[in-house]
Symmetry: C2
Subunit: 788 residues, 2 copies
C-alpha cells in the first residue's frame, strides 16, 4: 500500500520507508544517516557526502552545497565495457534515461534502484552501527539475454578536516594517499587545530581515511584530474573515456578516491559488491583492520540487518496507532529518527552544516530519548551542564571536537538546563541526576542541581525595574539581536518561560531542602505573574518584548510585526494569566497567525531591515523567522491549543506542519514529506507554504512531543502516567505502547461518545484506577481508557 | 611576429599582449584586471569573477575555485534564435566546436574572439580606469550570407560581501534585486561586519551592485533557478531552452543577474553592445548614475582607450631593450603589470584570494613604483608604517576594508619598513618621507624615521646570547613556524638581512643626527658579522637557522633540508662574509640548488612532516617552500650571482624563472608564460618544473628589480645613476630608458669587447663622466656606456 502518494513518491504501508519514484523533486530529498560518530548525507539523486564526528569540523568527503545542481560528488559509475555506455548507480551525475529509478529512504539507510540498458543495480548506503565505516552495497543484475561485461567505478574528493573550497589549492598540497590491500588509504598532514603550543598548521589530521572494495581492484586513481580531466566534469569524466584508471597515487595531485572493479554477468546473473569508506583515529583505531573487516559482502549484509534492527529496537520502544496515519508515521519513526540521526548525532542537514551543539538546541532534542533510552537524555543533560560557567551563564554553542564557543548574553539558553532537567525527572523519576558532579568551564565543579540553580540565579540578575526579564542580546529568537543589547529591553516570552520553569522546578528545590531559594523563586513567580498581566497585555494579545528605547514589539501600536506567536502560546503553556486573556490571546493567534500551513511566528512580516530590531527583519518578508512558519515555535501552538481544549485549532496547527500531509501540494511545499522542515514561507512570500531547511531543526522532537503528550495526552508525571487526550471527536480511539525500562504499557483509548477530551474511566490490568502508576516489574500492563 | 609561440599561444611582437589560440591550456590562464578599486579575474576560457575593494572581503560575483573545471560562472551566452543553437562568448561554459577561438590577455584588458556557426563575436573585458565599473564590450558580426537573429544573455551569481559557499542557503535570504532603467540593481541586507555596537548581522552590505546593457532588455531574471533550472548546470541552462527569461525579480530566489538582448544582423553586418557590472558605495556613489554613464558603447570604447593609455603611460616610463626578448617583455610590461594590478591593487590571483595586505609583502612590491610613480611607493610605505605598534612590532597582515589582523611574532616583517624606506630614498632622494608623521596602531604617532627606528630597536630585543637574531614564530619563511616559538632558535638569514639593512640605514641615522643609535647599530653590525662567521658557517655553506633545541637547520648534519638558498644568497647580498666563503657558499648553491628551472629554496625536500620545523615539511616534497623553486627567493639568487660576477650562473638563475622561456616546455610548466609563478616543483616532485600559484606572488617585482638593477646594473643611488651591468658576454649591448620626474635618461650600453661586466667609459650628453647625476631639468639626457 502506498501512503501519501504524490508525483515524486510515497510512504510504504508500515511508514518506515519513503520511496522516491521520480528524481526530479523540487529540491534534493535527502537522508541523514548516522551512528552518532560517522555520518552521511545521502541525496535521492545519488550524490552525498560523509564525515566523522562533526560535519563542520571533520569532513571526510567533499561538501559543496548547490541546491540547484545538487552537486556534491560521491558517485558510483556503471559502464558497459563493450559499448562504452556509462551511467551512475544514482541518477547523478550522469542523469541517463532510465528503465527504472527508485530511491528508498529508510531509517538508517538509503537504497538506490536503477535500471539502464537492461542492467539493474541496487545500491544500499548505510553506516556500520558501531564503527566509523560507511557501506555502498551494490547488487548488479544482467536482465539482458546476452552476457554483459560491466565495470563499476567510484569517485569522490577527499576533504579530511575542514577548509573552504577557495583554499583547496593550498590544502591539496598536504594529502598523502597510498594503495594497499585493495584499498586506498589517505592521510592529511595539515590538521585543522593548533598543536599543544597553540601553533597553527603544525599537526596532522588525526585520522586515516580509507576507501575499499570487496572485488579485486582492476584500476584506481587518487588524483582528481586523472579522473575528471581538465575542463570536464563529473557528468562526463575522462575516466569513462579510457579503458582503465591510471593507478596514480602520490602526494602531487588533488586528492580523490576512485576504485574500479569489473564483473561479467551471464543473462539473469546477479553479483554483489561492497564499497566502503571509513576514517580511523590515529592511535585508537586501525584503518587496515577496519577496511579488511567490513569490506566483505557477507559482513556488509549482516551490518545492514544490524543497522535496521538497531533502529527498530530503539524507535519501537514507543508506538502509537491512531486514525491519523500521518501522525502515526511521524511519531513512530520519522521525528525520532530525524531528531536523533540528523540533529543529535549527525548535527547537520542539507541546508546547514554544524560544527557543534547549541546549548538549548540539543538539550531540547534530548527529550526524544525519554521514551526510547532515557540514559542518552541523561548524558546529554550532563554534557550541556558541563558547558556552563560558574557565574551560571553558558556557551551559546560549542565545537564538539575542538571545544570552545561563544560566551554570549543570550538570555534564555541557560534556563533550558533546569527546564529539561525537571522534564527528565518528571518522566524518569531519576532524581539521582541532580547529585551528579559536573565541572564548570572556568574551573570547579558542582552538582547538577547547583548548575541548575546558578542558571536560574543568573537569570534573576537580568530583570527590569518593572519585574520583567531582560532580553539581552537575544532570547529564543536569535534574530531579535538588536532589541535589548543595552540591557533595557524586556522579553515577554522569556517571562512566560521562566514562570513555567519556576513553577515546575520549585518542587525540586523544596525536595533539595533549599528553602531560602525556593522562597525566592516563589517571590519571582508572583512578580512575574503580576508584571506580565500589568505591563505586557496589549488589549487582545500579549506583546513580545520591549526594546532598549522602550518601544513595544508585537503590539497593536506597530505597523509590522504587531503580533508574535510565542508571547501568546507560552502565556497559555505557562498558565501565567487568566482564562479570559488566554482565550483572547489564542483567538488573536487564530485570527492573525494560524494558517493552513501552521502558525506564523509573527504577523505581518517586516518588509524593511530594522537595525533597532535585528536580523529577522533582514530576511525577505515571510521567510524563516520573519513571518514564516517557524516550525519549532509552531509545534508549541499545538500544545497551547490542546491546553485550551480548542481541538479544531489544535488539529489544524498540527496537520499544517505534519510533513506527510504536505504531499498533497508537494509542488508548492518542495521539501521532504518525511521529515520536518525548519520553516515554511509565510503569506507575504510568493511561495507561501514552501518548506525549507529540513532535517537540522529542533522542531522534529517537539512535533513528536506535542503529538504524544498533548494530542494523545500520555504524560509520564513523577511516577504516574497522566492520560488526558485531546483528539478530534471523530476518532474512535487510539493505542499507545511504551516501555519503561523492561516494563511495557499498552494503553488503549476508546472514544465511544465521540468527544474530544475528558477521561471517563481508566482500567489498569482489569482494575479501575484513578491514576496509572509506572511500575518496573518487567511485565506487560494493559491500560484501557474510555473517554466521554 | 609571434614571440615564444607554443601550442597554446604566443606573445605579440611588442610583448604587450599574450594571445591564447587553444583554450585547452593545462591550467586556467588568467588576467587580473584592476584599477586599484574594482577588479576582475578573467580566465581565457571566458569565466571570471569580479570584486570591489578586496577579493576576500568584498566580492561582487561568485568565486568558486575549481582548477580542474575552471568553473566560476560569469558568462555571456550567444544564441541563434531560429535554430536554437547556443554557445558562449568565451569557450566556457558551453564549450562548442568553434571556427575560431582566440583570447588576448593585454595590459588592463582581455579580448575573447569566437566564431561559431558563422557568427563572429569579440568581447573585450576591462575596468573603467577611475570608476567601480567593469565592461563586457561585445562586437558581433554576421559572417553568414543570410540574415541571422541572435540573442545575447548574460549570467552570473551575486555574492555581495563574502561568505562561504556552504552558507549560501542562509545568505541568499538577504538579497533584494530590482529592475529599473534597463538595469538590474541589487542590495544585500546582511553586511559582513558588525555594527557600531559590535553586533553582527545588524547591517546592510554597504554597496549597491548593478548590471546593465546598452541595448533594450528583451527579458531578464534575478533568480538562479529560473536561469539554470533544477538539476541542470551552466553548460545547458534551462534559460537556453525557453524563448525568454521570466523577468523574475524579487527577494525570494537565489540572486543572480541575467540580461537578454536581441539583434538581427544582415549578412556582413556588425553590432556592438556593452554590458556593465558595477558596485556603488551607498551614500558616496550613485549606482543609477554610474550605470547610465558607462552603459553606452561610445563611452565604453573611450574607456577602453583610456585604460590602455593609462597603463602604457605608467609602465613605459621605464623601458629596456636587450638581446633577451623574454627579459624585455617581462621587464617592460608584465612584471610591472603583475605587481601593480595583481599584487598591490587586486590583491588576488587565481590560486589565492586575499583579504588584505601583508606587511612585508606589498612593501616589497611597492618598489615597482620607484621607476614608474614614486609617489605611489611613498603612500604604500606610509600605509604600512601606520600598521605598526608603539613597541615597534607590526601586524603580519591586515584587512584593507575592515582593518584588523594578527599581531604576530614573525621576526622579519617589521624590518622591511626601514629596508624599503632606505631603498625608496636611495632611488628618489626624497628624505622628506622620514619626517612624515604616522600614527601607531595602539595610539600616538611619530615620524616615519621613528617608526623605522622602533622596528630596528624591537629586533634588537630579539637576540640570542651568541649575538644572532632569534627566528621567533617564523622569519621570511612563514612555514618554519615551529623552529623557534620558544625564542631560542636563531635565524641566519635574518642576521644577513639585518646586516644589510643596518649597513644601508646607518647613513640615514647619522643624517638624522641620532648618533647614539647609529653607534648602537654599528656595534650590532660588528656583532652580526662576527657571530655569523663564527657560528653559522657549516664548512661549505651557511646554515639556515637553529631550532629551540639547538639543532641546526640547513646543515650537512641534516639528512633532509641540509642546504637552504637564502642563507647563501643573502650572505653575498649583505656582504657579511669574506670572498672565500661567499664563493664556497655560492658554489654549493650551484651544486645543490641551481637547476634548470631556477634555484631551489632548499635541498633535499622534506619527505615527512616535522612538527619541530613547521608546515613547509608538511607539503609534498618538492612543492612550494618544501624544496621547490620559490620564485621570490629564486630572484635573489640572480642578485647574488650578479654580485659574484658569476654571469653564467646568474643568467641561468634568471632564465630558469623568466616565464616566456617556459613556453618551450609548456606542457611541463603548465602556468601562464606571461606572469611569474609563486613556485615551481622541485626535483622530488614527479612534475619537476611545473609552475603554480601565478599572479599573486611577490616574485614579480623582484624579477623586475634583479633584471634592471643587477643584470642591467642600472641603480639610482642617492642622486646618481650607478651603472654596472653584468650581462652575457655575447650581448652587443642594450638600452635603458627611464624618466625621473619629467627628465628622461636614455642609457645605451655597448659591449664591443664581448665582456660580461666592467664599465670602461660613460659619456653623459657628450661629456665623459665618472658618475651620472640625476638631474631634474625636464630634458632628455643620453648616456653612452662602453664596457670592456
Amino acid at each position: 500500500m502506498k501512503l501519501f502518494e504524490s508525483k515524486y513518491g510515497y510512504f510504504t504501508a508500515d511508514g518506515r520507508e519513503y520511496v522516491i519514484t521520480n528524481p526530479r523533486t523540487p529540491r534534493p530529498w535527502v537522508n541523514v544517516i548516522s551512528n552518532g560518530d560517522y555520518s552521511i548525507i545521502a541525496s535521492h539523486t545519488g550524490s552525498g557526502y560523509s564525515w566523522r564526528g562533526n560535519a563542520g569540523q571533520n569532513r571526510i568527503t567533499r561538501l559543496y552545497q548547490d541546491l540547484i545542481k545538487d552537486n556534491w560528488g560521491k558517485y558510483v559509475y556503471i559502464r558497459d565495457i563493450e559499448s562504452g555506455k556509462f551511467w551512475s548507480a544514482g541518477w547523478k551525475p550522469v542523469m541517463t534515461e532510465y528503465q527504472l529509478y527508485e530511491v528508498v529512504h529508510g531509517i538508517g539507510y538509503t537504497v538506490y534502484k536503477h535500471k539502464v540498458s537492461d542492467i539493474y543495480s541496487e545500491m544500499k548506503v548505510y553506516v556500520s552501527i558501531d564503527s566509523p565505516v560507511e557501506f555502498m552495497l551494490i547488487t548488479i543484475r544482467n536482465e539482458d539475454d546476452k552476457v554483459r561485461k560491466i565495470d563499476l567505478t567510484t569517485y569522490f574528493e577527499w576533504v579530511l578536516g575542514n577548509f573552504p573550497d577557495e583554499h583547496r589549492e593550498f590544502h591539496k598540497l598536504f594529502f598523502e594517499p597510498s594503495f594497499k590491500n585493495n584499498t586506498i588509504f589517505v592521510q592529511k598532514y595539515l590538521g585543522q587545530f593548533p598543536d599543544e603550543k597553540g601553533r597553527w598548521n603544525n599537526t596532522n589530521w588525526d585520522h586515516v581515511a580509507f576507501h575499499s572494495v570487496s572485488l579485486p581492484v582492476k584500476s584506481f586513481t587518487c588524483d582528481k584530474e586523472s579522473f575528471i580531466g581538465m575542463y570536464r566534469d563529473e557528468r562526463n569524466p575522462i575516466a569513462m573515456s579510457v579503458e582503465k584508471l591510471d593507478n596514480k597515487c602520490d602526494r602531487f595531485g588533488d586528492a580523490c578516491a576512485s576504485l574500479q572493479v569489473e564483473v561479467a554477468l551471464q543473462p539473469g546473473e546477479e553479483r554483489k559488491v561492497v564499497f566502503t569508506i571509513g576514517a580511523a583515529k590515529i592511535g585508537e583505531e586501525d584503518p587496515e583492520l577496519l577496511a579488511a573487516k567490513y569490506t566483505d559482502v557477507k559482513t556488509a549484509e549482516e551490518e545492514f540487518e544490524k543497522t535496521k534492527k538497531f533502529w527498530m529496537d530503539l524507535l519501537e520502544r514507543e508506538l502509537v496507532e491512531t486514525p491519523d496515519i500521518g501522525l502515526n508515521i511521524m511519531t513512530n519513526y520519522w521525528t525520532k529518527y530525524q531528531a536523533i540521526s540528523g540533529r543529535i548525532w549527525a548535527k547537520s542537514g542539507y541546508y546547514q552544516v554544524s560544527a557543534g551543539y547549541g546549548f538549548r538546541d540539543q538539550l531540547q532534542d534530548s527529550q526524544i530519548f525519554f521514551s526510547l533510552n532515557p540514559e542518552l537524555a541523561r548524558k546529554q543533560i550532563l554534557l550541556h551542564a558541563a558547558h556552563q560557567f560558574q557565574e551560571g551563564d553558558v556557551l551559546h554553542w560549542w565545537f564538539t571536537i575542538r571545544g570552545g564557543g561563544p560566551r554570549t548574553h543570550c538570555s534564555d539558553d541557560l534556563l533550558w538546563l533546569p527546564f529539561i532537567t525537571q522534564e527528565y525527572i518528571k518522566e524518569t523519576l531519576d532524581y539521582s541526576i541532580l547529585d551528579e558532579i559536573v565541572p564548570f568551564l572556568d574551573g570547579g565543579s558542582a552538582t547538577l542541581y547547583e548548575h541548575c540553580k546558578r542558571a536560574i540565579e543568573k537569570s534573576f540578575k537580568r530583570f527590569s525595574p518593572r519585574g520583567l526579564p531582560l532580553i539581552g542580546e537575544n532570547d529564543w529568537n536569535d534574530g531579535l539581536n538588536a532589541v535589548g543589547t543595552d540591557w533595557k529591553g524586556e522579553s515577554i516570552w522569556l517571562a512566560h518561560f521562566l514562570y513555567l520553569l519556576l513553577k515546575e522546578f520549585i518542587p525540586i528545590i523544596e525536595r533539595q531542602g533549599d528553602e531560602a531559594f525556593a522562597e525566592k523563586c516563589r517571590d519571582v513567580l508572583d512578580t512575574l505573574k503580576t508584571s506580565i498581566n500589568k505591563f505586557a497585555w496589549d488589549g487582545e494579545w500579549f506583546i513580545r518584548a520591549t526594546k532598549d528605547d522602550g518601544e513595544k514589539l508585537g503590539s497593536k501600536e506597530n505597523e509590522e510585526g504587531f503580533i508574535f506567536l510565542n508571547a501568546q502560546t507560552w502565556a497559555v503553556i505557562s498558565d501565567i494569566t487568566d482564562d479570559e486573556r488566554k482565550k483572547k490571546a489564542m483567538e488573536s493567534v487564530k485570527k492573525y497567525l494560524l494558517k493552513d500551513y501552521g502558525a506564523l511566528l509573527l504577523y505581518p512580516a517586516y518588509t524593511k531591515p530594522r537595525s533597532d530590531i535585528g536580523y529577522i527583519t533582514r530576511y525577505a518578508p515571510g521567510l524563516r523567522e520573519n513571518g514564516g512558519v517557524y516550525t519549532h515555535a509552531a509545534t508549541w501552538a499545538v500544545w497551547a491549543f490542546a491546553l485550551m481544549r480548542d481541538v479544531e485549532a489544535m488539529y489544524k496547527a498540527y496537520r499544517g506542519i505534519c510533513p506527510p500531509y504536505r504531499s498533497f501540494d508537494i509542488d508548492n511545499y518542495w521539501a521532504e514529506p518525511y521529515v520536518t522542515c525548519g520553516n515554511s514561507d509565510g503569506p507575504l512570500s510568493p511561495h507561501y507554504g514552501r518548506g525549507g531547511w529540513t532535517w537540522y531543526t529542533g522542531s522534529a522532537q517537539w512535533l513528536h512531543r506535542v503529538a504524544t503528550h498533548w494530542i494523545l495526552g500520555i504524560r509520564p508525571n513523577y511516577g504516574y502516567i497522566d492520560i488526558d487526550p485531546v483528539i478530534p471527536s471523530d476518532w474512535e480511539g487510539f493505542t499507545y505502547k511504551r516501555f519503561f525500562g523492561d516494563t511495557l504499557y499498552v494503553i488503549t483509548v476508546k472514544n465511544p461518545n465521540k468527544v474530544s477530551y475528558g477521561v471517563k474511566e481508566i482500567i489498569l490490568d482489569g482494575q479501575k484506577v484513578e491514576r496509572v502508576p509506572i511500575l518496573s516489574d518487567g511485565k506487560i500492563h494493559t491500560v484501557d481508557v474510555t473517554l466521554g
